[in-house]
């Protein structure tokens, strides 16, 4: 049977091309794989191979023709003894390709069903979950953030045989920051795995193990080093569930200290909260208190998705009250109102909470009652609690240690403007680290970081005091 040879698309963007040269002539025998023509695309001259065998019955587009649209019949291939004429006539009468219809790519939200969330559609802010994190009257114990993290990991390793910890110095050295102290003795080298200094390598191995069904906790000595492993965190861990149409879950926790410690200069002092929070497929946790560190770590290990768990070196040694419960978790996407107030809403997370609470104490002395919200998780974010508070106080200051451009505060400002504009009595102010690499000199470092007095100043601005 005679078949039409169509003008091929030879690059992802080609819509038309030039038929530069015919390498076979009418009457020539052609077999699959033979080059029959040269075609110029916008990028290069490509050789065009035959897919079927037969005889080149008729050339429909002469060589040298420019602007030949993709899928235009350019020749007719016939079997031996067959004439090309009837096919050619048909092609002449109807120059559209016979059966090929490429799918449309530019469907708007109104066509073919409702996509759900267009750019202009306002998604209703969900009702906040304001239930207490633990029952009233629960016995409390005092512990450091370091102990809380260790206890959370140990409890989950006891609970689930597939949970294991890997990273640099997590085992015999007992953890660079002593988070994993004692875990090697308790669980053995099969489940507490010391790695060489190979961030991209062990992040990839951890991710592969998670795809195969284990639940790795991958410790980065600090998140500064995780930049070496960024490809696996984003491209391999966060995107695979989507790329596989829901087949390949990746239950993994990447954890370690994030942000500035003290006097360790630019390469060891970055806060990555906003980077990770921008990536769909990741969940991002950044606790302040020991209770949150414990409850959220246990939740992170149980979560079937990749979780970025951003700790802070300065907070490791601080003590907090932690509920003395055998199995205590905190759900993601549930902010904590650390302090209630009516005059202004301060939204923060991680070590930013230390500055925010200190500022709130000072402001109280001046008669300003600040409501302080600890987001705890940055993906998902508890928008409900934020909006509810904004409606009450009408003024917002965000506080974080990271860089100002593309910050969490920037995102919250936009969200509040879109969803509670009429409730705002002043522009939202974002308190952030300064827009500079972290300096080493003690005085400069102090100025590069966010401070409680800057938060106080911002609050006074939005409250017009």
């Amino acid at each position: 049977m005679a078949t039409e040879i169509l003008m091929p698309a030879l690059s992802p963007t080609m819509e038309e091309g030039t038929l530069a040269k015919w390498l076979k002539q009418e009457g020539d025998a052609v077999k699959a794989g033979d080059i029959i023509a040269e075609i110029e695309t916008d990028k290069a001259t490509m050789e065009f191979e035959a897919v079927d065998e037969g005889i080149l019955g008729k050339i429909l587009i002469a060589e040298g023709s420019q602007g030949v649209k993709v899928n235009t019949p350019i020749a007719v291939l016939v079997e031996e003894g067959e004439s090309a004429d009837d096919v050619a006539d048909r092609a002449g009468a109807d120059s559209k390709p016979a059966q090929v219809q490429a799918p449309s790519t530019a469907e708007g939200p109104d066509q073919g069903g409702q996509p759900g969330k267009s750019a202009v559609e306002t998604v209703k802010t969900p009702e906040p979950n304001r239930s207490p994190d633990w029952p009233e009257g629960t016995k409390m114990k005092t512990m450091t953030v370091r102990e809380a993290l260790r206890e959370a990991m140990a409890e989950e390793m006891e609970r689930d045989e597939t949970v294991f910890l890997m990273g640099e110095e997590v085992g015999e050295y007992q953890g660079a920051y002593k988070i994993s102290q004692g875990l090697l003795d308790r669980f053995g080298p099969r489940r507490v795995v010391d790695t060489p200094i190979s961030e991209i390598g062990f992040a990839g191995i951890g991710t592969g193990a998670a795809l195969a069904g284990l639940r790795p906790i991958v410790e980065f000595m600090t998140f500064n080093f995780a930049m070496q492993a960024m490809d696996h965190i984003i491209n391999s861990a966060a995107k695979t569930l989507y790329m596989s149409g829901g087949q390949m879950g990746c239950p993994i926790v990447f954890r370690g200290p994030n942000g500035a410690a003290a006097r360790v200069a630019a390469q060891h002092s970055q806060d990555y909260a906003a980077w990770y929070a921008s990536v769909p497929g990741l969940k991002v946790v950044m606790p302040y208190s020991a209770a949150d560190a414990k409850g959220l770590m246990k939740q992170a290990i149980r979560d079937p998705n990749p979780v970025i768990f951003l700790e802070n070196e300065i907070l490791y040694g601080r003590s907090f009250e932690v509920p003395d419960l055998p199995d205590f978790t905190i759900p993601f996407g549930k902010a904590r109102i650390a302090r209630t107030g009516k005059d202004v809403t301060i939204i923060s997370f991680g070590i930013g909470m230390a500055h925010s609470l200190e500022a709130a104490d000072k402001l109280a002395q001046d008669g300003i009652e600040a409501e302080v919200i600890d987001l705890r998780t940055l993906r998902p974010i508890d928008y409900g609690t934020i909006i509810e508070s904004v409606k009450k106080t009408n003024r917002v200051v965000t506080v974080e240690e990271g860089f100002p451009v593309g910050s969490i505060g920037n995102h919250l400002s936009a969200y509040i403007m879109e969803n509670a504009f009429d409730y705002l009595d002043a522009p939202v102010i974002n308190c952030t680290g300064k827009d500079v690499p972290m300096p080493y000199a003690a005085n400069l470092e102090k100025h590069a970081l966010i401070t409680a007095s800057e938060v106080v100043e911002a609050v006074k601005k939005v409250t017009y005091r």
């Binding site: 080059i35 695309t41 069903g113 989507y242 790329m243």
Partner: protein
């Protein structure tokens, strides 16, 4: 499609090694031909605008995956790069599902959300389909880590190219894989060109399997245009891994007939070079000759197989054209797993 050729029961009269059965040879012929015809069809659909974006064809390299798959058992895992259609077909994934993913349709393995470079199958233990060069190497070692952790005797085949062999993460992975005795076979499909850069222009260390020596990983070079040689090497590597001796490297010398991707004019090598490989070393022709010379099959027998394969491929193309585009709601699904993924904690408990 049956994956396991029958063990050698009758010996070849001439041409084929005496330990290869007729059924085995016929199976390799079918499996390789399926990949070639499937890829030719994919190239055709690309030309028609039905497949978009990047599309990297496996034509010429068929003997690599077909030979190695013949050395596997149920439970073994595989992972590869973006030149992945052949690996999927060879491990038994359906031509329909792969082709429909290429056309971006609901019936594809990833519901149209992955495309040519990103397909997966839990059922067939195929872990992708990865678009970042060499990322699949540590991921593959991670799959092997999981099997070792769980105490089974599965092995993982981590495929990558000569181009990927120059990525640093490969050597981080070699180091840890041997340190922890991971049951992973690193398969370097050396088709001699990293996109447009030949081996000579990218490294002075051109014996790629030899790079494992620095870490204490054994390896060897294999003729990748000879499916029987590939299978034999695969069996050796598998035996090494299953015995708990750690990783193994196979550098399989192969050749891709087509460009790096569909939009590659391939000016970095001559037409004659490609033609010479096709004429003299083609892996499918090789098995075809063994079958005919050994009188295991007649021309008519092979024609019947050709027709079968053509039917499977045409059916897959029809399916891929007719399968609807994914519903727009799919944009918002599969970003987060709600429950435990398959094959996770509960299952192993």
């Amino acid at each position: 499609m049956a994956r396991k050729p029958a063990p050698a029961t009758e010996t070849a009269a001439t041409g084929a090694p005496s330990n290869v059965s007729r059924d085995e040879l016929l199976q390799y012929y079918r499996d390789m031909l399926l990949i070639r015809r499937f890829e030719e069809k994919a190239g055709q659909l690309y030309g028609m605008g039905l497949i978009g974006g990047f599309c990297h064809l496996y034509i010429g390299q068929e003997a690599v995956v077909v030979g190695l798959e013949a050395a596997t058992k149920e439970g073994d895992k595989r992972i590869t790069s973006y030149r992945d259609h052949g690996h999927m077909l060879a491990c038994g994934m359906s031509a329909r599902g792969v082709m429909a993913e290429l056309t971006g349709r609901e019936g594809g393995y990833s519901k149209g959300k992955g495309g040519s470079m990103h397909m997966f199958s839990r059922e067939k233990h195929f872990y992708g389909g990865h678009g970042i060069v060499a990322a699949q190497v540590p991921l593959g070692a991670g799959l092997a880590f999981a099997d070792k952790y769980l105490g089974n005797d599965n092995v993982t085949f981590a495929y990558f190219g000569d181009g990927a062999a120059n990525q640093g993460q490969v050597y981080e992975t070699y180091n840890m894989a041997v340190l922890w005795d991971l049951p992973v076979i690193f398969v370097i499909e050396n088709n001699q060109y990293a996109m447009g850069t030949s081996m000579k222009r990218s490294t002075r260390s051109t014996t790629l399997f030899g790079r494992g020596e620095a870490f204490g990983i054994p390896g060897e070079q294999v003729d990748g245009m000879d499916v029987l040689a590939v299978k034999a090497a695969g069996e050796k590597a598998v035996a090494h891994c299953r015995a708990g001796k750690g990783p193994y490297i196979l550098e399989v010398m192969t050749y891709r007939y087509r460009g790096h991707s569909m939009s590659d004019p391939a000016k970095y090598r001559t037409r004659e070079e490609v033609q010479k490989m096709r004429d003299e070393r083609d892996a499918i022709e090789h098995v075809r000759e063994l079958l005919l010379q050994g009188r295991h099959a007649s021309e008519d027998d092979l024609k019947a197989i050709d027709k079968d394969i053509k039917d499977i491929v045409n059916d897959s193309a029809e399916f891929a054209k007719e399968s609807p585009e994914p519903a727009l709601e799919e944009l918002w699904t599969d970003i987060y797993a709600e429950d435990l993924p398959q094959g996770s904690a509960e299952e192993h408990a």
